[in-house]
């Protein structure tokens, strides 16, 4: 997809979301900046606990105590979403920005029929009657390729299979023609053949409504298929941000490099997997300096003292690292894609 220099649809500036727990403050998202343009797919990649889901929830303002967005701006269509009242936010949520959750079984209400749950948003945002709304939801179910949509609309979530439920979630998200869709690990709980179906469906629908998508996932394979640009997150911050090809072919952050070389893959014969040693740090006690330094193979003294900033090293490629020269050399040795 072509990204021209026009205004971004969504701009997240220095977003900070903290959790105020009894043990202390967890800085789940700590100064995240990114933007999403019309018609593009931005992938947010990271391991569990890196803050990718919290970022999504912050944009939707769906966080509850003890989580709180304490700083930054979320500019959507020229307005800061963080300044909107609850009522105004409700008009945005589901209408302009919609969300697909990871676990369709817990995201859907078990005691309401699928058709009713879809029509709820329609009735609220379009001020239409119940009958009309139900008819429209049947149409939507048909659009997401659910067989026998009339019958399915009257069924409850537990009567549907996992893939079908996720389709229903997508129908619900698409019901009010959103301009921005946020998908939080939408295929993680699904089998691989069902995942292929869902990704295929999402791609078709995206093309159709020319909307933007924020795809949150830990699966680099899914990202390689669907994203235009990618943000890699680690410990509440973006560590690398670039277009897809740059991330996969010439990454400059040691974490990105580590991730790419540590996954077993179908397209290559691999001798031995690279390993990122250690574990994700406890968010209550992040290390000093660069948060990745205890696990980094390129670490220097500077990394332990001073935290690097996210710096634009070439156009559209931002990296948070002191040692990008060393990483670039390692990448050149050819441990990556297609070698």
């Amino acid at each position: 997809m072509i990204i021209n220099n026009k205004e971004p649809l969504l701009e997240v500036i220095d977003l900070k979301t903290y959790f105020f727990t009894e043990e202390g403050v967890v800085k789940a998202v700590d100064g995240v900046d990114f933007e999403v343009y019309q018609g593009e797919t931005l992938g947010i990649v990271g391991e569990s606990g890196c803050g990718k889901s919290v970022t999504a929830f912050s944009i939707m303002r769906l966080l509850d105590y003890p989580g709180k967005t304490v700083g930054g701006k979320i500019v959507f269509k020229g307005y800061n979403l963080l300044e909107k009242s609850d009522d105004e936010m409700r008009k945005v949520r589901g209408k302009d920005i919609a969300m697909i959750f990871q676990e369709p079984m817990t995201a859907l209400n078990p005691v309401l029929t699928v058709g009713f749950q879809i029509s709820e948003a329609l009735m609220m945002h379009f001020k239409i009657g119940k009958k009309e709304a139900i008819n429209k939801s049947v149409e939507l179910l048909k659009k997401v390729e659910i067989p026998m949509p009339e019958e399915r609309a009257n069924e409850y979530p537990h009567q549907l299979s996992g893939g079908m439920r996720q389709r229903a979630m997508i129908a619900m998200a698409m019901s009010c023609d959103p301009v921005l869709l946020i998908a939080d690990e939408p295929t993680t709980a699904l089998d691989v053949t069902i995942q292929a179906q869902i990704l295929d469906l999402m791609r078709t629908l995206l093309r159709e409504f020319n909307g933007s998508l924020i795809m949150i996932t830990h699966d680099l394979g899914v990202i390689a298929e669907i994203a235009d640009r990618i943000a890699i997150m680690y410990a509440g911050k973006i560590v690398e941000y670039a277009n897809k090809r740059t991330i996969f072919y010439s990454p400059l952050h040691p974490y990105t490099f580590g991730l790419l070389t540590s996954i077993p893959r179908l397209d290559l014969e691999m001798k031995r997997l690279n390993v990122i040693p250690g574990v994700v740090p406890n968010p209550l006690h992040f290390p000093e300096g660069c948060k990745f330094n205890p696990r980094c193979s390129f670490v220097t003294d500077r990394c332990k003292e001073e935290e690097p900033q996210l710096i634009e090293v070439e156009e559209g490629h931002l990296v948070r690292c002191w040692n990008i020269d060393k990483v670039a050399q390692e990448v050149k040795k050819g441990l990556l894609v297609g070698v």
């Binding site: 089998d191 053949t193 995942q195 179906q197 298929e225 179908l266 397209d267 390993v275």
Partner: protein, 324 residues
């Protein structure tokens, strides 16, 4: 070729569906339905399939953690299915399992040294002091400092707990370890640590693995041979290389094509399967895959294809290859 360490013959496991006040059996879930394969000494046999295909049940019935309905499991020349309780207990020393969920597979109220030593205790192998010394060695082997042996499972992260699960499986020096989705619940960076650990341990102790996973990329990396299951049946068995380059069964083809590859330039034709996996309580007639198969023929809904050797060492259950 090496000798087969484990030979599974016509293994069947049905679970009853009970309904009503009297809990009458109204049907059967055909979880594993006539499955036969061999595992050779020192190899890693990958068992792959989607949820509900019976891969975990296969492992559990081999260990007799679930009683098989029918069939034979020959381990080291003896039929596990016919063994008496006491003999089975002795034999289990040689067959261990690592579970998927490192959170629920460790008793939260036991210290990890006791979790790992439990098997040694059961089989009365070592005295107390030696026992814990051995636990320390095992922990070091899997990459956890031995001084942590007095901690409880909740003090460890997911990856570390999986290491503890591996140490427990190793404690009795088994011949075969079933890894039931042992790396599926782990994060990417932790997963590669555990995969490498399993490979190293295999080399060091000459272990045989039955490696169960739904992730084909992992299966491709770790296995020597691969068994593909669908709805309680084996559809294809082959050497890893053969399976991925010369895929025969339409289901395996679809499965491989569906895996997202982390390479933006990787072009392939994706086969999108229609519909969902049918219920194993009421599987389709004939070939169980036929309602979703793109190459379905008339015979497929009538006669069930047998698993036959289409090429040396390459078995496939599909009518496309069975006719002359």
């Amino acid at each position: 070729m090496a000798d087969s360490l484990l030979k599974v013959d016509n293994l069947v496991k049905y679970f009853p569906i009970k309904k009503g006040v009297f809990r009458r059996t109204v049907g059967w879930i055909k979880a594993v339905d006539d499955v036969s394969f061999e595992v050779y000494e020192g190899e890693t046999l990958g068992l792959v399939g989607e949820s509900g295909c019976g891969k975990t049940t296969t492992a559990l019935t081999i260990l007799r953690l679930e009683e098989p309905t029918k069939g034979q499991v020959i381990f080291d020349g003896r039929d596990v299915v016919k063994m008496k309780k006491a003999d089975l207990r002795k034999e289990r020393k040689n067959m261990q399992i690592i579970f998927q969920d490192p959170y629920s597979s460790l008793d939260p109220r036991m210290k990890i040294k006791d979790i790992i030593a439990e098997g040694i205790l059961t089989h009365n192998l070592l005295k107390v002091r030696e026992r814990y010394k051995r636990v320390g060695e095992l922990l070091e082997k899997v990459g956890i400092p031995a001084e942590n042996m007095d901690s409880f499972p909740h003090e460890f992260s997911g990856g570390q707990r999986q290491r503890i699960g591996i140490a427990r499986a190793l404690a009795l020096e088994p011949k075969i370890i079933m890894c039931d989705e042992a790396v599926s619940a782990l994060d990417v960076s932790i997963r590669s640590q555990i995969i490498n650990l399993l490979k190293d341990l295999q080399k060091e102790f000459n272990l045989t693995y039955l490696f169960i996973a739904h992730d084909l990329s992992v299966i491709k990396y770790i296995s020597d041979r691969v068994v593909v299951m669908y709805l309680g049946k084996i559809v294809e068995i082959a050497d890893k290389k053969e399976l991925f380059t010369n895929t025969m069964h339409p289901y395996t083809q679809a499965l491989i094509s569906a895996v997202p590859v982390p390479n933006p330039d990787y072009k392939k034709e994706r086969i999108i399967l229609k519909g969902d996996v049918p219920s194993p309580a009421n599987p389709p007639t004939g070939c169980r895959f036929h309602p979703r198969c793109s190459k379905v023929m008339k015979i497929c809904s009538e006669i069930e294809p047998k698993l036959t050797e289409a090429k040396e060492g390459h078995f496939c259950a599909c009518h496309l290859y069975n006719e002359k």
